[in-house]
């Protein structure tokens, strides 16, 4: 293959790297009103009175909106396909505020200074209520976070508002208790994966204006333009045809921008004033007034035979969704959905869980989406099982993992189409030096080095829900335009989709213009989430390119006076086997212009009935100082099965970046609050994402498989790479000093205190 499988530079790479003005804030009109939000100082309160007169009198203040000034229909900010499985529990502004940072008033002024001055002049009186701060106390707490009557779900997600349950989930095959009774070994434990901040470099932002026909145009740093359009129409109570969402370049998202955190505030200002408006969250708001990964408590039981065959798995989850239920139901169910299929020698499996409301910042989508938390808990338990059985943990995996052509209990009979997980484990063992290093070595000076491991899976798109549409055109000049709704957020999908089209059409990539991210002109695509784009949009591109190629050959043959069977498309010409040829440019000219009247276009909508899992085997080597508990990550090896690798360099960076986020979750990052429910970690001074000294050495290898249902055999890669570091590093620390860290992150204090109890 000429394009696919090659490390081609991103088509936008040089422009973004050298700082050209292509991001949201760079494109905003200079006269846009600056939008600021007054926020609740209380975790749970009712607004008794508000006085905005002083603020409104200030010169330069354009409007101040309170809950009395905004539409009163509830909606969700979760960017999901309709009907969204997230409760409609939000108002643009509500009389009740549900966390410290919840929106109280929207201020729009000619500049930031004036807006901030106005904010100080707004007087609010609150009736302060008892908040629900501990998610383990939320179920049945005396305070009900969402007492409102008009709370609404599109379908049953197990919401019980009086008990603070946003969603509950259950998946069971076989009789788990009966199976545990038959197991010779049963291990169990309780795990606490923490809330993690996305900490993308470009904070949340959008600007809005009315176009020449009075429609609301929203330029937003979002992963989900089409969902934002639908969400705004609902929230602002205007027809969806009145909204256009444009996504320029995005400075990272990681799932954060799958939730519409800011668009509605700028949107309503523009609707109310008729003027352009811009909202840019600062880092503090980005940390404390958007979303994070769901903190969870996970109880896991794994039962096995003496030979290490896993017979039963039981996972019980409690997920903290915070003040609003964005992604509550789906992140919860994905905990089981992306862990139980790993091991298929089981006779019974069960996943049960509740997502509970609290008076803390809402949780939302975050790369890994429940699989991250579930993997930490299940893989830690499997490592514990291996130890109890006296088996090598890699051998336990190799004995139990699902293989190609097999089914698994919760899979409804679907056969696994591709997996190289076995090879990933073997390769990882070799790269980390497992044989020599497992479990640990004393290296003197009171320091111990040890290794640990974990495996993980994710999906590729959402089966039977996710779709991708693309349109491919032969333009009048012989060049192509590929229109897609895919939402590149730095990941490089604009590039790999162009690669795929170029591969099929056998034309240079430069001959294809890639156009996406505008709900007025792009074909529908749910957006950049659920590890969808390569697998779904990629397949749509392949189909569209094949269809267009055939049309071009048919048309070329017609112009050459031969039948379609007698021509091939090669380079930029259609040629007969006897050497007559016609260029694409000429075909384009003759079809688009003048007498042709038939521009050659293909259009494909693709969805998949399955969501083939990509896999990672992760291996960590740590050095622990036994005197202080200080842990240093020496080496991390990730071996990845993403099917066919479309662009090796871009895939490698995805892996390295995902592993680094996983390392952050394992060792450094935690969203914490004070006793009144105010976030303590609201800047990079308190919230530590890894810097380049913190990640040690990350090494990546690919073990390609071939997924029959994917484009060129490809599966996904974006999310699966975030999942292995927490369990693998926890395992390595345990192997070093015998302390099992079940509350993430691992800190020297926890290790040291744990060592005192041994």
């Amino acid at each position: 293959m000429k394009r696919v499988g090659h490390s081609i530079r991103k088509i936008d790479g040089l422009m973004i790297a050298t700082g050209k003005p292509v991001y949201t804030a760079d494109l905003a009109m200079k006269n846009a009103l600056v939008v600021k939000v007054l926020r609740s100082p209380h975790a749970f309160a009712k607004i008794v009175s508000m006085d905005t007169t002083g603020a409104e009198k200030l010169e330069g203040v354009e409007c101040i909106l309170t809950y009395k000034d905004v539409p009163n229909g509830r909606f969700t900010l979760a960017g999901q396909s309709y009907p969204e499985p997230s409760p409609y529990d939000r108002l643009i502004l509500d009389e009740i505020v549900r966390y410290v940072g919840d929106e109280v008033a929207i201020i729009a002024a000619v500049d930031e200074k004036t807006a901030l001055q106005a904010m100080k002049k707004i007087k609010v009186e609150y009736e302060v209520w008892e908040p629900v701060l501990d998610f383990e106390q939320a179920l049945g707490h005396a305070s009900v976070v969402h007492p409102e009557e008009d709370l609404y779900c599109n379908f049953d997600i197990g919401l019980q508002k009086d008990r603070n349950v946003a969603s509950s989930s259950k998946e069971e095959v076989g009789d788990v208790e009966e199976e545990f009774a038959r197991c010779s070994v049963v291990v169990e434990d309780v795990y606490y994966p923490q809330a993690q901040a996305h900490a993308m470099m470009e904070t949340y932002r959008a600007f809005t204006y009315l176009d020449h026909t009075g429609r609301l145009v929203v330029v937003s740093s979002t992963q989900v333009p089409f969902h934002i359009k639908r969400q705004l129409a609902r929230a602002l109570q205007i027809p969806a045809t009145k909204v256009r969402v444009i996504k320029p370049r995005i400075g990272g998202g990681f799932g954060g921008k799958q939730t519409g955190s800011v668009e509605v505030f700028a949107g309503i200002v523009t609707l109310k004033t008729g003027k352009p408006a811009i909202i840019i969250y600062d880092r503090k708001e980005t940390f404390s007034c958007t979303t994070s990964r769901h903190a969870m408590r996970l109880k896991v039981r794994v039962g096995a035979n003496q030979d290490g065959i896993i017979r039963a798995i039981d996972i019980e989850a409690l997920s903290a969704t915070g003040a609003y239920g964005e992604h509550a139901a789906t992140v919860l169910s994905c905990v089981g959905h992306y862990t139980l299929p790993l091991y298929n020698k089981t006779k019974a499996v069960r996943f049960t869980g509740n997502a509970v409301y609290t008076n803390k910042m809402p949780a939302g989508a975050f790369r890994g989406y429940g699989a991250t938390q579930g993997t930490f808990a299940l893989e830690s338990t499997v490592n514990k099982l291996a130890e109890k059985l006296g088996l090598d943990p890699t051998e336990v995996r190799l004995k139990n993992i699902s293989k190609v052509g097999e089914t698994y209990l919760t899979g409804q009979g679907v056969l696994l189409g591709s997996s190289s997980l076995e090879r990933c484990i073997e390769k990882g063992k070799e790269l980390i030096g497992w044989k020599e290093k497992f479990p640990c070595r004393n290296i003197g000076n009171n320091k111990v080095r040890a290794v640990g491991m974990a495996i993980t899976m994710q999906g590729s798109g959402i089966a039977n829900i996710g779709t991708a549409s693309v349109e491919l055109r032969l333009n009048d000049d012989g060049y192509f335009t590929l229109l897609s709704g895919a939402t590149d957020m730095g990941t490089g999908c604009d590039t790999i989709l162009t690669q795929m089209a170029a591969e099929i059409l056998e034309v240079p990539m430069e001959n294809i213009v890639f156009n996406a991210g505008d709900t007025d002109t792009s074909p529908y695509d749910p957006g950049s989430y659920a590890s969808s784009t390569t697998y779904l949009a990629g397949t749509a591109v392949v189909k569209a390119a094949e269809e267009l190629k055939q049309k071009i050959m048919d048309q070329g043959a017609k112009f050459l006076g031969v039948s379609s069977q007698d021509v091939e498309m090669n380079g930029l010409v259609v040629r007969t086997f006897r050497g007559q040829e016609i260029s694409l440019a000429k075909i384009a000219e003759l079809t688009v212009l003048g007498t042709g009247k038939l521009q050659l276009v293909s259009y494909v909508t693709h969805g998949s009935e399955i969501s083939p899992p990509p896999y990672v085997a992760g291996f960590a080597e740590v050095e622990v100082d036994q005197e202080t508990g200080k842990v240093e990550l020496i080496d991390y090896v990730a071996v990845v099965d993403c099917g066919t690798v479309i662009n090796p360099n871009l895939a490698r960076i995805q892996v390295e970046g995902g592993i680094a986020q996983g390392i952050g979750m394992a060792l450094y990052e935690e969203v914490t609050y004070n006793e009144r429910g105010k976030m303590a970690t609201n800047s990079f001074m308190q919230y530590k994402i890894p810097c380049r000294k913190d990640v040690g050495k990350v090494r990546v290898a690919f073990e390609e498989s071939f997924e029959p249902s994917g484009p060129f055999g490809a599966k996904s890669i974006g999310e699966v790479v975030a999942n292995t570091p927490p369990p693998a590093i926890v395992h390595a620390v345990y192997n070093a000093v015998g302390v099992r860290i079940n509350h993430l992150p691992i800190t020297p204090e926890k290790i040291y205190m744990g060592m005192q109890k041994l």
Partner: protein
């Protein structure tokens, strides 16, 4: 108040507020490569040069730039593109939002350090955060650019 300074080799006189930060002033004058991402001097995205040395423009008052020579990536297009070609060949710009500040610091390092070791490179650049790439690809690119061997 008015300040007079050299921006990318051009002498300019600008009106600034007394509490205005340099990053905002630069952006207001169309130098949109300058990004802000933390407001606490932690992330390195706003890196520009003041008299050839890397500084964090989001926490430097604009009045402090009076009489100084400020360089943004717009002022070193040839050198920036040279390194950007290496960086993007690795795919390690990813979202690109941190790249301009990062590139300015890499170029400053190239001017300052002779044949740096891997440890010195990491130390020099440690104030430039990146959430996308995990830093490995950036290190490969820097080493290729400096011709100091591969990871």
């Amino acid at each position: 108040m008015q300040i007079t300074l050299t921006i990318n080799n051009k002498l300019v006189t600008w009106d600034v507020e007394k509490d205005e930060f340099l990053a905002d002033t630069l952006r207001a004058h169309g130098l949109l490569s300058v990004k802000k991402a933390c407001e606490t001097s932690c992330c390195g995205l706003c890196t520009v040069w003041m008299d050839e040395k890397s500084v964090l423009s989001c926490t430097i008052l604009s009045i402090r730039a009076n009489g100084k020579k400020i360089t943004t990536i717009e002022g070193v297009p040839r050198e920036a593109e040279e390194f950007a070609r290496v960086l993007t060949a690795e795919g390690s710009e990813q979202c690109g939002f941190c790249s301009p500040g990062f590139i300015m610091n890499v170029l400053a390092m190239k001017n300052e350090l002779v044949n740096p070791s891997e440890e010195e490179i990491i130390h020099y650049l440690t104030g430039n955060l990146c959430r996308c790439t995990g830093y490995m690809g950036q290190l490969r690119a820097v080493k290729t650019f400096l011709g100091v061997g591969q990871v």
